[in-house]
């Protein structure tokens, strides 16, 4: 026993020595890199999931990789420090602290619920820029180093809806379904503005191509629950929905739609590989655009916009590839011209002449809720014949229930 003990102690001593030595020898390596690269910047990214979700966080990772490549061409070397699977709580504060402490000059928080924790760290590091994607407190927090960012995803939804509408119209024209059977089922996470804005834009896009379309929305009250999402899609198909779309994190609605013989359009990711016979197209935010802009601004010492919001016209919102085997004939051409019109502003997503609320045209709606009672009370959003979404702030605020969409829960 004593011999064993001695052996273990010797090993421990050796290990400790090695640890000490390696620390000394490794340090020069770490500091050498920035010198020969010219411009190097440390950037932090805090994610609620990891790339395995093939949805929300995966989409951020694509943005990260895209930005790295794009900036490399400009001679900028981005050194990413990424925190995966961070819950929306105290751990997020720690993650922000750690990244700021490690020397990141800008830190992106990818989930809505991260913001309050990010705001606890931001005042302590005035020289570090903090970004809360999809949230909105930077307008009111009185800190100059906090920012928000979102993209005009409703434009992408509108186009994806258009592709879906084309398909439904094709089914009607071929006599496969009757006009009144053109029903879309939508699996939504929560009844929040971001989701309402999304499915309304989607519905309006579908109706642009198929005037008789209606929609049923089922909320699952969870951002990511594969089983609930699948069940909701299944129930919607059983109620006669011919096409399913979603705003939640999993790909299970796509597979369910396929198994029930319905069509599908995706969000965040191209889901053609999971449901090749159902998935027509998808839409996603391309975070590359914002990441590049923000990182470059930090390097050049320029101000980052307090609230950033861009859309189709700048490539911040994109459609994923069309599934050419199953889309309605002629979709590609019509889609391209619609996209052009949207970019030019000839077609508006929330055109008040295209929808009604309880039978009436919408003439008045506030954008922002300033007193926290869930009822918007500031900034008139309806003018020039359009509800101006993402105009007063990047986070969506269209929370109105329009005619033609039935909420199941």
């Amino acid at each position: 026993m004593k011999k064993l003990l001695a052996l273990i102690l010797c090993l421990a001593l050796a290990a400790a020595l090695f640890a000490g030595c390696s620390q000394n020898t490794d340090k020069p390596d770490d500091t050498k890199a920035p010198d020969d690269a010219g411009k190097t910047i440390k950037v932090g990214l805090i994610c609620i999931g990891d790339e395995n979700d093939l949805g929300y966080t995966y989409n951020f990772i694509r943005g990260k990789d895209g930005a790295t490549k794009a900036l490399e061409k400009k001679g900028i070397n981005v050194e990413w420090m990424v925190k995966w699977n961070i819950p929306e709580g105290d751990a997020c504060e720690d993650a922000n602290l750690e990244l700021a402490e490690a020397g990141c000059q800008i830190i992106f928080n990818n989930s809505f619920g991260f913001e309050p924790y990010m705001l606890k760290v931001a005042p302590k590091y005035p020289n570090v820029q903090f970004v809360a994607c999809t949230n909105k407190a930077s307008a009111t927090d009185e800190l100059s180093n906090t920012h928000n960012a979102f993209a005009k995803i409703y434009e992408g939804r509108f186009l994806a809806g258009f592709v879906a509408g084309m398909k439904l119209q094709q089914l009607i024209d071929e006599g496969t379904i009757k006009q009144e059977e053109a029903v879309i089922g939508y699996v939504g996470a929560f009844p929040y503005e971001e989701i309402k804005s999304g499915y309304t834009a989607y519905f309006l896009g579908a109706r642009y191509a198929c005037p008789s379309v209606t929609m049923k929305v089922q909320f699952v009250n969870d951002w990511s629950n594969a089983t609930l999402e699948s069940n909701a899609a299944s129930a919607l198909c059983d109620m006669g929905c011919k096409l399913i779309s979603q705003h939640a994190d999993n790909s299970t609605p796509a597979t369910m739609a396929q198994s029930k013989g319905a069509y599908f359009t995706s969000y965040n990711n191209d889901m053609i590989s999971v449901a090749p016979e159902a998935c027509l197209v998808g839409t996603r935010i391309d975070w590359t655009v914002y990441f590049c802009e923000a990182i470059e601004a930090v390097l050049e010492g320029k101000e980052i916009p307090q609230d950033w919001c861009k859309g189709l016209a700048d490539g911040a919102v994109v459609l994923t590839e069309l599934n050419k085997d199953i889309i309605a004939p002629g979709t590609e051409e019509k889609l391209a011209s619609l996209e052009e019109s949207l970019k030019k502003g000839e077609v508006k997503v929330f055109d008040t002449s295209s929808f009604t609320v309880k039978g009436e045209t919408l003439t008045q709606a506030f954008a922002l809720d300033t007193d926290g009672d869930f009822v918007p009370d500031k900034e008139e959003a309806v003018f020039d014949g359009e509800f101006h979404e993402s105009y007063f702030q990047s986070a969506p605020y269209f929370g109105i229930d329009i005619d033609g969409i039935e909420l199941l829960n």
């Binding site: 290990a15 640890a19 390696s22 819950p87 709580g89 750690e98 402490e101 929040y192 926290g372």
Partner: protein, 364 residues
């Protein structure tokens, strides 16, 4: 002895209690840690990294500067508090795995008080009331399975586990319903309802250190503590000695739940400054390991919870600094815990190797 009788290659023999010198026992424990670190090297090597550099990064990331140390302490505080909470139950051989729910219950009660009385009371009485409410609800949440066990001898393991899901469900409902501030989250507490910081970390660390003393004295030097250990050794003996076993069980479960509830207060008023269904974050389960590794010794728990704090914080850093997947860090943590718990086996038993001649005898 007959030479032809085959003895197995390795035999186990239980050590008598006095056979092993305490120093040797600690040697075995230390050895097990080193053995685990060596195994961990394999995992790191497989991920294509330098293990020595990785370990250095871990240590540096956990205690290397004030900010890191502060985060490490913040991770260790609830672990320590909760290990202290479940120690009396485990001593009694009452398997309370409901600390997760008792923490959540405490946090819920504290949040309720904070929402009700913020602005109406100054900070100190408000915090005291929050802590009191947390202990009360946490205690009741522990008392319920205790009562059923005492009265109808229900299975406490399943009962306490199920109680976790109930309270977490209640919080989920509150945060998406009546208490919602924005998108399914409860608003951050006002500053008056937040625990003040002492030496950069919220003062929860002082509370749990005080708890260490309290639990130590309670378990070692009070009648209650004695009753608990008698029940743990033999329930029949306790009954024969005229102890009211059911009552002691309920009392101990209330105490355990109350301490867990206090931990809930610390995590919600000190760290999160709000309530969410993930507030306990697995602490209620991890602390079981802390309690076992410490042999239910309150002072040892300080060291063990700190060690786990260093491991988790170090693993975080490993991920950011060296891009080592967090799963590898989890493997290292798992190896360490496994080896440390396993070392108790070698402290209680010793191996007897077969001698070349075939005769069994003691090795070394």
């Amino acid at each position: 002895m007959d030479e032809k009788i085959k003895s197995p290659l390795i035999r186990l023999e239980k050590r008598s209690k006095s056979a092993l010198h305490p120093a040797a026992a600690w040697g075995i424990r230390l050895g097990s840690i080193l053995f685990a670190l060596l195994l961990g090297c394999v995992a790191i090597l497989l991920s294509g990294n330098n293990p020595i550099k990785a370990y250095a990064t871990m240590i540096n990331g956990a205690v290397g500067n004030k900010v890191y140390l502060q985060q490490t302490v913040k991770k260790a505080v609830p672990l320590l508090g909760c290990a202290l909470a479940i120690a009396p139950c485990f001593k009694m051989r009452f398997w309370n795995i409901g600390a997760e729910g008792q923490i959540t219950a405490g946090a819920l009660a504290a949040t309720f008080v904070a929402r009700l009385l913020t602005g109406k009371l100054p900070s100190l009485p408000l915090l005291l009331l929050m802590a009191l409410a947390a202990m009360l609800l946490g205690g009741v949440w522990g008392l319920i399975p205790g009562f059923f066990k005492a009265r109808w001898n229900t299975n406490e393991t399943l009962f306490t586990l199920m109680m976790n899901y109930i309270i977490i469900g209640v919080v989920a409902w509150l945060q998406a319903g009546p208490w919602e501030a924005q998108q399914g989250r409860i608003a951050q507490f006002d500053v008056s309802a937040q625990l003040p910081k002492v030496a950069v970390v919220h003062c929860g660390w002082i509370i749990v250190l005080a708890l260490v003393l309290f639990i130590h004295v309670y378990m070692r030097y009070t009648k209650h503590g004695y009753e608990i250990s008698v029940i743990g050794d033999s329930m029949r003996t306790a009954q024969y000695a005229g102890m009211n076993v059911g009552r002691i069980m309920m009392r101990t479960m209330f105490l355990s739940g109350a301490v867990s509830g206090l931990v809930g207060f610390i995590v919600c008023a000190g760290a999160n400054h709000t309530l969410a269904k993930e507030i306990a974050g697995g602490v209620g389960f991890t602390s079981i390991t802390v309690a076992w590794l410490s042999q239910l010794n309150a002072f040892a728990m300080v060291a063990i919870s700190m060690m786990l704090g260093i491991l988790t914080k170090g693993a975080d850093t490993l991920q950011t600094m060296m891009n080592i997947p967090v799963a590898i860090s989890d493997i290292i943590t798992g190896l360490l815990l496994f080896c440390m718990l396993g070392s108790e086996f070698f402290i209680n038993y010793h191996l007897i190797l077969r001698r070349r001649g075939g005769k069994g005898g003691r090795a070394k």
